[in-house]
Amino acid sequence: MDLLKTRKFSSIIHENYLLTSIIYRFGIKLGFGDKTIEQVCAEYKIDSDFFLEIIKVFTDKNYISESLLMNKNIPFTIDYLSKSHSYYNKVKIPFIESLINEMTWKDEGNKNNKEILKKFFNNYRKEVGEHTKNEELVVYPHCLDVYKYHLKGKNDLQLKEKIKKYSIKNYAEKHEELNASLLDLKNIIIKYLPPPENNLITEQILYEIFRLEKDMEDHTRIEDTILVPVISKMEQEILKN
């Protein structure tokens, strides 16, 4: 996607309608008329350079964002990641849950299907909830501490001690498991679940799961390939001094 700040905001949605979920997270609402990307961002007090980088990461999974790898963008990135968490926890996952609730089967033999599926999804919801909570309570604050110290702390010994107690490298690994649950759910629905009466629901659920999966992949990619290496490098520099 050719991205210039002077482009009309509406045109990027025309080009990739999936971006609606990104702008939702930034709090941007549709109905932007003919305003440019720059104008809309200014209106919502969003750094337009940062916004465009996120769009690029979202649209091209092989895109390596030099800009997001710069220290100064760490607070923006963390803010965006947190916003994505609430998008998953408060919007997407409850929505899929409500769709599952709408599934119906006629015959006796299938009466438990909904309950089974709900239970599975409820587990998944908890997993995501715990994962994101840990990031918000432990990982991200640590990253911000490191960032803060690196930026101007230097004499703040208390902060330095705090940083030393945790390393960004302790974090991670869990992403694989989160993804595994979604993969399982896809296979269960595609291969094993007896089709419900209202088949259209299954189609919607699958569509939502595929989207959530892709979205979370982009999200964890930012965590694993941007947050971890940048913070880890800062940590090393801090410990050297």
């Binding site: 587990n123 649950s181 694993d224 390939t225």
Partner: protein, 197 residues
């Protein structure tokens, strides 16, 4: 036999030459590219290289096994062989094939033979196959919430065997997590919904 294109990502000259020596025993193997250094922004897998097999030393991952994993997730993990100076847990967890530096000749030959056989017969994955009776028993135990150790004790087999069965079940069903396997077991009347608590 079809050609097998290999990418060799290995810093050590000795190991690279050693591998080439090993491969000289096979026909139709082509070393497509040798990567001897990983600069900050190169990514072996995102380069649009075509290969059948990537052999990569774990020292390429450095601290960022995660980075690597996010990239290869979409690729077939059977297309990757990791060479490592020492054993670590993630080796077993994330990679189907790995070779330790002190691996015996027989083991190395076995590993490559298996990979190449799969390639030539095209049977790289067992798909949609029925579970065996034994596997169903194991699946039931998993769905009841038992650990590998408990399953081993209940069925009088070794934990190692349990793990092998689990891997095969996952391959056949395409389901990996315990709660996913439980759903499958209930849907297929292997356990009842009441038992799955």
């Amino acid at each position: 036999m079809e050609e097998i294109k290999i990418i060799l990502a290995e810093k050590s000259y000795i190991i690279r030459e050693g591998l080439k020596k090993i491969f000289s025993g096979y026909h139709s193997i082509i070393i497509e590219k040798e990567i001897t250094e990983l600069s900050k922004n190169t990514n072996v897998l995102s380069e649009k290289l075509k290969y059948d097999l990537l052999i990569i030393n774990s020292d390429f991952f450095e601290n960022s096994l995660n980075v690597f994993k996010t990239q290869f997730k979409k690729n077939d993990s059977s297309k990757i062989v990791v060479i490592s100076y020492k054993y670590f847990d993630d080796l077993e967890r994330f990679f189907e094939n790995y070779i330790l530096i002190n691996e015996t000749k027989q083991n190395i030959e076995k590993i490559f033979q298996e990979i190449f056989n799969k390639k030539s017969t095209g049977k790289s994955e067992i798909h949609d196959e029925e579970l065996s009776t034994r596997e169903k028993e194991i699946l039931k135990e998993i769905a009841l919430g038992n650990t590998n150790k408990e399953i081993a004790e209940n069925l009088f087999i070794s934990s190692h065997t349990v793990i092998t069965h689990r891997k095969n079940i996952t391959k056949k069903l395409g389901i990996k997590t315990v709660s996913g396997l439980t759903v499958y077991a209930i849907l297929n009347n292997i356990i009842s919904i009441e038992e799955a608590k």
